[in-house]
Amino acid sequence: MTKSTDQSRRTGPSVGRPGVAWALPGVLYFAFFAVLPMILVAYLSFTEWNGLGTPEFVGTDNWERLFSDSLMGQSLWLAFLLTVLTWVVQTPLALLIGVWSAGYQRNRALLSAIFFLPLLLSSVAISLLWRTLIDPNFGLPAQIGGWLGIDNIDLIGQSDTALYTLVFVATWQFVPLHSLLYQGGARQIPQSLYDAASIDGAGKLRQFFHITLPQLRNTITTSSILMVVGALTFFDTVLIMTQGGPGTDTTITPYLMYQTGFKSYEMGYGSTIAFVLVIMATAASLVLVKMTGFGAMRSTREGM
């Protein structure tokens, strides 16, 4: 948004313009169901509450407990690992698939239509599908392992493969959405840039690195923010596939919060964990926005 349009708007006639009252119902609704909980989570983190009755103020007890809780430390490390791994695996894949499917060739259109399908399934459906498919006795590991002569591949029964399995399922679930974002972004890159580059003798690879990637800067930021915040709140899949196990080896922070709040009925301490999550998600988005200069929203069409 530039200054000049702002000013022309301000000097325009004020008749026939809606006032702030138009936005009020929506603002109040959102404030009540989304902003108020944010404030409440901060308050509840200083209370003890079992889900019934009224929360009881206990000062900084929960916070002291949090800093000495080894499970919390482990869960943060696991959440960090999961976030980094999903980003590293998904971004190149989504970028390549997205740019590829931005082409208008018939085979690309057809395959893209199939690549889209996981987007239609809920995370519950996807987790249950994969849980069934990787069953060590009756699933794919048994069938494929049988062909290869390997027995008993229990992917979610061992701690390291359990985490990689979660990363894989997340990739299967979310790459379609992100490649769609990249497809949309790539289609908006003006063809004239590529024409000019090929006249100058730039090959496909150089065009990709010098035109496509820089032009997709904003899409990369949007997609990365969605991925990081998504990974930090990755919960359904863990609940259904591993239940935080084996042991506590996939107990990431959001799952720890759910368990503390809704399984052990320690909603006060659960809120303390939740508050840390809110801070982490906000901080991660802010860092990404700052790092990529997204806030300035520089035009990608400079000089054209």
Partner: protein, 298 residues
């Protein structure tokens, strides 16, 4: 950016009427073969599990346990479908439809006036509204489930469909407001001025000008919200309890216990839960794809 200018001034001469043969060979030469091969690999990654999903629903449980998920069903059966429908799937289905329709209705009804005010109003407070929703984007629903649970129980709405609908709608709003303001900004000022000269009221401008001209944004918002509501799991999980108030995702989750060894039954429930979205995709693929693409912004 010099090269751009030269590209625009020096038109590359086109050959006169290329024969079909040269056109074909040109297409084959420009085809990207490594990418083609890689795309087939990804097709296998996406396609094989989906094949196993569909094929397994037509298998008897005993056949599945013998032959594994990848083999072709030898004697297809529909008994899994009967079984799943008999387990209360229809109730869950109707509940999910109610939740989805109400959520979309609330989001559209509340977000459209917000977008309209943000784009058209000149007051400073309305601009703050926009920043308010930008910040709202950063609130992850997962992190505030405990206070949402507190609010819903205080309102005496625990274990009702309204308990699922109200917060689901709220958490869809920031993205929707963002999308709608993006679309509404593109409507030209002159159209509004022309209407203002005629003395058209603010409400009528919204109805006859803004809404018709922001149809693409509206469909994006509706599609995004509908998919979110249809597939939502967290709010139903913590805010409902009884079988009568169960939605599909929660029903699926509860099937886990009942289908412990019955993989075909489980997979049939998984497939059935997505049928409406698959049908929507079949008939309105373009709208769905464009809709989700729009979420990424312009």
């Amino acid at each position: 950016m010099n090269s751009v200018a030269t590209a625009q001034t020096q038109k590359v001469p086109l050959p006169l009427r290329p024969s079909p043969w040269t056109r074909l060979s040109k297409r084959l030469r420009s085809a990207n073969y490594p990418a083609g091969v890689a795309s087939l690999f990804w097709l296998a990654v996406i396609g094989i599990p989906l094949y196993a999903l569909v094929a397994s629903t037509f298998r008897k449980t005993s056949d599945y346990l013998d032959q594994g998920p990848l083999s072709v069903p030898s004697n297809p059966t529909f008994e899994n479908y009967h079984k799943v429908v008999d387990m209360g799937f229809d109730t869950y289905f109707i509940n999910t439809v109610i939740v989805t329709v109400c959520t979309v209705a609330i989001v559209v009804l509340l977000s459209v006036p917000i977008g309209y005010a943000v784009v058209r109003s000149t007051t400073r407070s309305t601009q703050r509204v926009f920043q308010f929703f930008l910040l709202g984007l950063a609130i992850p629903a997962q992190a505030v489930v405990i206070p949402v649970f507190l609010i819903i129980t205080e309102l005496h709405m625990y274990d009702s469909l309204a308990a699922v609908i109200l917060p689901s709608a709220a958490f869809s709003m920031p993205v929707c407001v963002l999308i709608l303001t993006g679309t509404m900004r593109d409507i030209s000022e002159e159209l509004y001025e022309a209407m203002a000269l005629e003395g058209v009221s603010v409400a009528k401008m919204l109805w006859y000008l803004t809404i018709p001209l922001s149809r693409s944004g509206l469909s994006t918002v509706a599609i995004y919200t509908a998919i979110q509501a249809w597939n939502g799991f967290l709010f139903p999980l913590i805010l409902t309890q009884s079988r009568e108030q169960r939605v599909l995702t929660l029903g699926l989750y509860d099937f886990v216990g009942e289908f412990r060894v019955d993989a075909p039954g489980m997979l049939t429930a998984v497939l059935l839960s997505a049928v409406p979205l698959f049908v929507a995709y079949l008939f309105a693929r373009r709208a769905l794809v464009q809709g989700l693409m729009g979420v990424g912004g312009k």
